[in-house]
Symmetry: C2
Subunit: 266 residues, 2 copies
DNA sequence: CTCAGAGGTAGACACCTGTCTACCCAACAG
DNA sequence: CTGTTGGGTAGACAGGTGTCTACCTCTGAG
């Protein structure tokens, strides 16, 4: 919500805050008028030109400040969440050594991060509204700036997940792809979180499930199934693994059929 | 792109098409001006009032038309994709009977649907641009209308997936949640697909992987692991299941540790 | 002390905007 | 033939808009 109390000129900060406020209430950035903005900020319209070339320029300044303010806290809370399960000094067993412990760590970090993230969203709604709105907004300049911000978030997340070993080994591209998807989804959901205060708990749970399904699904697809399966049994309120009451096709069967029917990569 | 050639008055259609065009190029809907729109449509500004009360009204009309035009084709192509693997009449074995065949069907349907969807997006970019932009846009009216559209899409998808048995049994809520996530992601990605023609193949693949990981992850979490695991081995270019070179903790061990460390549900 | 420059203001300009009232015309029901 | 009505137009009005030039006032370096 409030922009950093850095060394920005007072008028500049006033303008940025006015923009954030007006934007959240009713308009998209490019639908704001100079004079309206100046009025809200209590300044002369011309003052705008002292600080910004145009509205894209203003938007970029806001986005840059936002990104600086949000990235570090997000990383910090991810670490905090992971370390609340396994203290920083303690040795981490590899996933194949103790899948159960690692899964517990991952789930705890997942849950805590989701909650802290949404708390953060609820505390700074206008920043997220602007981010989400302009990510798909009319200005190509702001769109690409925000795309970059999202990419940074995803890179942070992937790096943290790797360092904290919150997921079994995945190749970097796959890990990054998952992180991208998750951060896109989290931002998307944060809009709902802001707008529907009565649904907040449900949104949290949905986010957690989505993240778990996505990461674990990817891990299983990359060959970690045998390690994960025993630890996953009964997780997430699911009924335990039902005994298959019919013959299960063998590996080779499956492989043969798949080869017959799978369309080629274009 | 082009709106249906239905029985709408000519002027009304002209206005809607002009709005779509101007919107896609530079602006969000609420940043359009009446006169600008009329100019683009080649009509007198006042004609707008003959057909719409305000811009929200116009937006709703466009969205309604879009939704009508897009839902059916989407369902049709999902069916078509599934049936390209297993012809409609043929009996479908249950997932526990022949996971390999079902997985092949699901993957094929997934791939084909993703491709057809993005083809559709590429053919009607302006419709999707408007949908995505206004989904997070400034007008609460359009936002909620589009939220409804997205919910309809998700419901369609969940129902089709259930009918076509593209995923092992899941409870309806979970299935719907997955469908919601997938359709959100697909819409989000369609913006990238439109804007970055050189990345299209990569976006397709990313979407496929995301969907596979999400559905299979959810299935595994809901106890379908034992059925899926043999069929999944080696899928998706992953290295086969590596032999775990250490002792794997037993079910009971995992359960015990998780209980110790998992934070309670708030 | 001075003086340059950053931050802020004032007024004016031409232009564009939403909306009102009034008029027009074709189709068509009776 | 008449009257109504849906679709489209014309002109005008008051007000808002971006941007220009000119002017003011601090503050801090030399």
């Amino acid at each position: 919500m409030s922009l950093s109390k850095s060394v920005l000129a007072q008028g500049k900060r006033l303008l940025m805050e006015a923009a954030l406020k007006l934007h959240a209430n009713t308009r998209s950035l490019n639908a704001l008028s100079l004079r309206e903005l100046a009025r809200e900020a209590g300044l002369n319209p011309n003052t705008f030109y002292r600080h910004f070339r145009d509205f894209d320029d203003l938007g970029l300044a806001i986005i840059e400040e936002m990104s600086r303010e949000i990235r570090q806290p997000l990383r910090a809370l991810r670490r905090r969440a992971a370390e609340s399960v396994t203290p920083p000094g303690a040795p981490l067993p590899a996933w194949d050594q103790d899948a159960g412990l690692n899964l517990a760590r991952a789930m705890a970090a997942n849950r805590a991060t989701v909650r802290l993230f949404f708390d953060y969203v609820a505390g700074n709604p206008n920043a997220f509204i602007l981010g989400i709105r302009e990510l798909h907004g009319a200005s190509p300049v702001l769109r690409s700036a925000l795309r970059q911000v999202m990419a940074d978030f995803a890179r942070d997340m992937a790096e943290d997940v790797r360092q904290l070993q919150l997921v079994p080994d995945l190749n970097p591209e796959e890990l990054y792809a998952i992180a991208e998807t998750i951060s896109r989804e989290m931002f998307q959901l944060s809009m709902d979180y802001i707008e529907q205060p009565d649904q907040r708990q449900a949104i949290c749970q949905q986010a957690e499930r989505m993240i778990t399904a996505l990461t674990m699904g990817s891990a299983v697809l990359h060959g970690h199934g045998p390690v994960l399966l025993p630890a996953l049994a009964g997780t997430d309120g699911a009924v335990g693994p039902a005994p298959s009451d019919g013959p299960v096709s063998s590996d080779q069967d499956a492989e043969r059929k798949r080869e017959q029917t799978r369309p080629r990569l274009a």
